[in-house]
Structure formats: structure tokens, C-alpha cells
């Protein structure tokens, strides 16, 4: 059984049909990526899984439980964490307070060891623990958003455009971190516009086009696919 099983979801913004009958799955231990152009429905799909948006049809199962009607705030406790698009760190709170918020659903005794673990992954965050998050650079904020999501000890980490707005060198760094987290045992669902990077780290990928999945396959195979190359890899 898959860790995450999404079946036939349809999501609307008012009259706009943003996600059309999408189905896919993520197995435990995988990195799966959804790629596609801006507006293809990638973020909408992710937000529907995390409960911020609702699908009109279909089902979403996580670890064997139907979660399509579970409120977003309850999902963290199920082992699902999302790093939202645009990072969305709490700008006026300190780095450490942001991380504490990530562990909001966790018992108080696990906060300290989780903090240590996150600081180990992101030494930069430890240096800046007392600093207000709004003063961090874009790359640091991305690290903070990822660290914050990890504070709940998620089984599945969903990342929404982690490379957005970052300099190429930072993009490399963020992807190294993603691979490191994956090696440490976290299953990852990655939404990216940067198809090159995403497909090169992913076990499997799905290509979204105007709300539909048009292509799927192993990451490497999609990287080599002529249609994908033409549409998303600049040649």
C-alpha cells in the first residue's frame, strides 16, 4: 500500500477548474516530484493534500486513512508536513520561535531533541536562533521553513517550490539538503518549476499541464523524454 494515495481529485477556485481528475501515489521512502509550468495546478494539488483546499470529488489516503476531510491543522499530527510556497516563515518571530511553532502539536519533551536535530541539519539556523526570521536571507528562510516542517517529525514532507527565487548556488544547496533528508528516511513529495533539478533527484515524476497529469515515469526517464525536454528543460 502506498504511503499517500491521491485518487481523482478535482479542485476549483470559484468557477476555475484548477485541478482536473488527478490521481497519483507516493510510496514510503520515495522522492516523488510534480513538475509543470506556472498555473499547472501543482501547488493547488499540494494544498488540497494538506487540507488548505478541498477537492469536490475523489479521495486522499495517507497511511491508509482517508484524509480528504481532515482540517489542515489536524494533519500535522498524522505525520504530514508541508513547506509552503514562498516559505511563509513567521517574519516577526525569531528563528527558534518559528521552529517551536513547527513542533506545536508535539509534546513539550520532544521539542528540545527535535531542535537539536534540526540545528544539526541546518547549522546556519543555530547561529541565528535569536534573530527575527524576517531579517534572514531567502536561502536561510527556505532552510527555516524546511526545519520548521521537520520539527513535527513528519513521515511525509511536502515541499512547494523550494527553489523559487533563490540564486543557483542556493538552489544546489537546497537540493542537497532534500537528498540528505531523504537519505535520513523522510519520504518527500516535491513540487517544482525547476524540472531539471527536481527530476534529477526524484525516483518518479509526474508532469502537470493545465490541471491534468499528462506524463509520468521515473525521474531519469522523464529527464530524457523528448516532450519534457522541449517543454520544461529548455531544449
Amino acid at each position: 500500500m502506498s504511503m499517500l494515495q491521491v485518487d481523482n481529485i478535482n479542485v476549483y477556485y470559484g468557477a476555475i477548474h484548477a485541478v482536473k481528475d488527478i490521481s497519483f501515489y507516493v510510496d514510503e521512502g520515495e522522492i516523488v516530484t510534480l513538475i509543470g509550468a506556472n498555473g499547472a495546478g501543482k501547488s493547488t494539488t499540494l494544498q488540497t493534500i494538506s487540507g488548505l483546499l478541498r477537492s469536490r470529488t475523489g479521495s486522499i489516503e495517507f497511511l491508509g486513512k482517508a484524509i480528504q476531510n481532515v482540517p489542515a491543522a489536524k494533519l500535522v499530527a498524522h505525520g504530514l508536513a508541508q513547506v509552503p510556497e514562498g516559505r511563509r516563515v513567521f517574519q516577526q518571530m525569531t528563528v527558534e520561535e518559528n521552529l517551536e511553532m513547527g513542533a506545536f502539536t508535539q509534546p513539550n519533551t520532544t521539542i528540545a531533541p527535535n531542535l537539536e536535530r534540526v540545528y544539526e541539519q541546518f547549522p546556519r539556523l543555530k547561529e541565528r536562533r535569536r534573530q527575527v526570521a524576517g531579517t534572514l536571507s531567502g536561502g536561510e528562510q527556505q532552510m527555516l521553513a524546511m526545519g520548521r516542517a521537520l520539527m513535527s517529525g513528519p513521515k511525509l514532507l511536502m515541499l512547494d517550490e523550494p527553489s523559487m527565487g533563490l540564486a543557483p548556488i542556493l538552489v544546489e544547496q537546497i537540493f542537497e539538503i532534500i537528498q540528505r533528508l531523504h537519505k535520513a528516511g523522510t519520504t518527500i513529495l516535491l513540487v517544482e518549476q525547476n524540472a531539471q533539478m527536481a527530476l534529477s533527484v526524484a525516483d518518479r515524476g509526474y508532469v502537470l499541464e493545465t490541471g491534468r497529469i499528462t506524463l509520468t515515469g521515473p525521474g531519469k526517464a522523464l529527464l530524457a523524454d523528448e516532450a519534457v525536454k522541449k517543454a520544461y528543460l529548455g531544449g
Partner: protein, 292 residues
């Protein structure tokens, strides 16, 4: 000495405004709405304390606590019934609803308790401290009011800065969707903010009526509007801003009154206009970048 007397009276009145303004500013910070019924919750708190201590002979402290309990429940009920269904609506709809709730409370009070002013018995007695051979008089009410204000300020600072729930409140006020992704129940947090603000309103009502003992269904209306002004003056959404704005506003009002009773309110609002022209975010307010 009269300057010092005025200053003390100003700080005392300003402390009441500050306590009310905290309710406005916390609710605004988290629910992004102006709860214009907040002033009338003050009035309800004062009536509860009035009847508890007068008719039922409870000790003053019990009266205050009862008023806090009633107002806390009232605030949460108002939020649940009137504002929560409008969470996704335009802010204008919420604003008009808040004005409606304000009238509802005033008229309910009119029905229940009639329009004739009640003479509120001060919860701290009518004593005073005389200094400099009687030239400077500080009432016990003024001392208690200022102390209450300081204690509330410290308590709120501790709560929002140190406790998990308080931090969650700040997280919600910054970004509700992100807060939800952390597992924070936004609805519950908003409800709790209303509870805290309304409990503070009860305290403010009791202190206000202990200083100015005439209690009517409209008693909370003007102090409510002035405290709202104070919150905007200090920077709406900012807790220290509400404190600073409230106290400054009280001082300005008392000095203006000493100069000419008729124009004191005009002076208060003129100051607000000037401050907003010079610094639109208020004294301690931060410019909010709209997210796109």
C-alpha cells in the same frame, strides 16, 4: 501642583483606555477586524459587577471576577455567533456586523436595566493619598487602575512572548494558513483572543466606573471609541502600542479638559489625525507588506 494632579488623572484615565485598547488591538491583530462591540462589553462588565456587589452583596473582588467570567463568555459567544460565520466575507460586512452587535448589546442593556444612570460603587473605596500637605491628591482608584494596567501589560508580554499558546497567537496573526500547517487551530486561537480581550474589558469597565460612577447602557460607547482611537494612535495590532496610545490619549484628554472642557474630545481626535498624517501606521505600528 495642578499640572501634576492632571498628569496623574491623565495616566489613570489613560490606563483604562489602554486596557480597552488592548482588546481592540489583539482582536485586530489576529482576526483582522475592528470589534466595535468591544466598548459595550465594558458596559456589561460594569453592570455585572454593580449588581453582584450591590444587589447580591458579594465582595468587590468577587464582583470583578464574576464580571470577567461573564464578559469572557459573552465575548466568545459574540465571536462564535456573529463574526465566525463571516470569516470569509468582506471586511465591510464584518465591520457592519460589529456595529450591529454594539447596538444589540446597548439595547439589551436598556431593556434589562433601564436607561436611568446607576451610581456605581467604587470597588476600591473612595479613599485617597494626600501629598505635599494636601496639595496633591491621588485617589486609591487611580493607583489601582495604573497598577492593574502595568500588571496586565506585563502578563500579556509574558503570555505572547513565552507561552506556546501566546506564540501560536502571534503566528496566527502573521499568517493563518502557515499557522494551520503547523497544526495550530486558528478558530480556537481567535476564540481565545476574544476571551482575553473581553476579560480585560470587564476589568476596564469596573475601573472606569470606579472613577466615573455613572453607569448607563451607553457608558462603554465613548470610552470604547476613544480606546479604539488609542489603539490606532499607538499602532493597531501592537500590544505596547495600545498601552502607549491609551496612556498618551488619557493624558491629552485630561489636559485638554483642564484647559477647556468643551473641546477636550475635539483635541483628542485632532491629535489622532495629526499622528496618522505624519505616521500612518501609528506610533509603534509596523508597516504591513501585503502578501501577493
Amino acid at each position: 501642583m495642578s499640572i501634576l494632579n492632571n498628569l496623574i488623572n491623565g495616566i489613570s484615565l489613560g490606563s483604562v483606555y489602554a486596557i480597552i485598547a488592548l482588546g481592540y488591538t489583539m482582536v485586530y491583530g489576529i482576526a483582522k477586524m475592528l470589534n466595535f462591540a468591544h466598548g459595550d462589553v465594558i458596559m456589561v462588565g460594569a453592570y455585572v459587577c454593580f449588581f453582584a456587589t450591590g444587589q447580591f452583596g458579594l465582595p468587590p473582588l468577587a464582583g470583578v471576577l464574576l464580571a470577567m467570567v461573564v464578559c469572557t463568555v459573552l465575548g466568545m459567544v459574540i465571536e462564535r455567533l456573529a463574526y465566525k460565520p463571516l470569516r470569509q466575507s468582506a471586511s465591510l460586512a464584518v465591520l457592519i456586523t460589529a456595529i450591529g452587535v454594539s447596538y444589540f448589546l446597548q439595547n439589551s442593556a436598556l431593556l434589562l436595566w433601564k436607561s436611568d444612570p446607576k451610581v456605581f460603587t467604587s470597588v476600591v473605596g473612595t479613599g485617597s493619598v494626600k501629598l505635599f500637605g494636601g496639595e496633591l491628591t491621588i485617589t486609591h482608584v487611580a493607583i489601582v487602575t495604573v497598577l492593574a494596567c502595568v500588571v496586565i501589560m506585563l502578563a500579556l508580554t509574558w503570555f505572547t512572548g513565552r507561552t506556546k499558546m501566546g506564540k501560536a497567537m502571534r503566528a496566527c496573526s502573521e499568517d493563518k494558513a502557515a499557522a494551520q500547517l503547523m497544526g495550530i487551530d486558528v478558530d480556537r486561537t481567535i476564540s481565545m483572543t476574544f476571551a482575553i480581550g473581553s476579560a480585560l474589558a470587564a476589568i476596564a469597565g469596573v475601573l472606569l466606573c470606579s472613577t466615573y460612577p455613572s453607569l448607563m447602557p451607553t457608558t462603554g460607547s465613548l470610552p470604547g471609541i476613544k480606546a479604539f482611537t488609542a489603539a490606532v494612535f499607538g499602532g493597531i495590532g501592537s500590544i505596547p502600542g495600545a498601552m502607549l496610545g491609551g496612556i498618551l490619549l488619557g493624558i491629552i484628554e485630561i489636559f485638554a479638559k483642564a484647559f477647556n472642557t468643551n473641546i477636550s474630545d475635539a483635541v483628542v481626535f485632532a491629535v489622532l489625525i495629526v499622528v496618522l498624517l505624519v505616521k500612518p501606521t501609528g506610533l509603534l505600528g509596523k508597516a504591513v507588506r501585503e502578501k501577493v
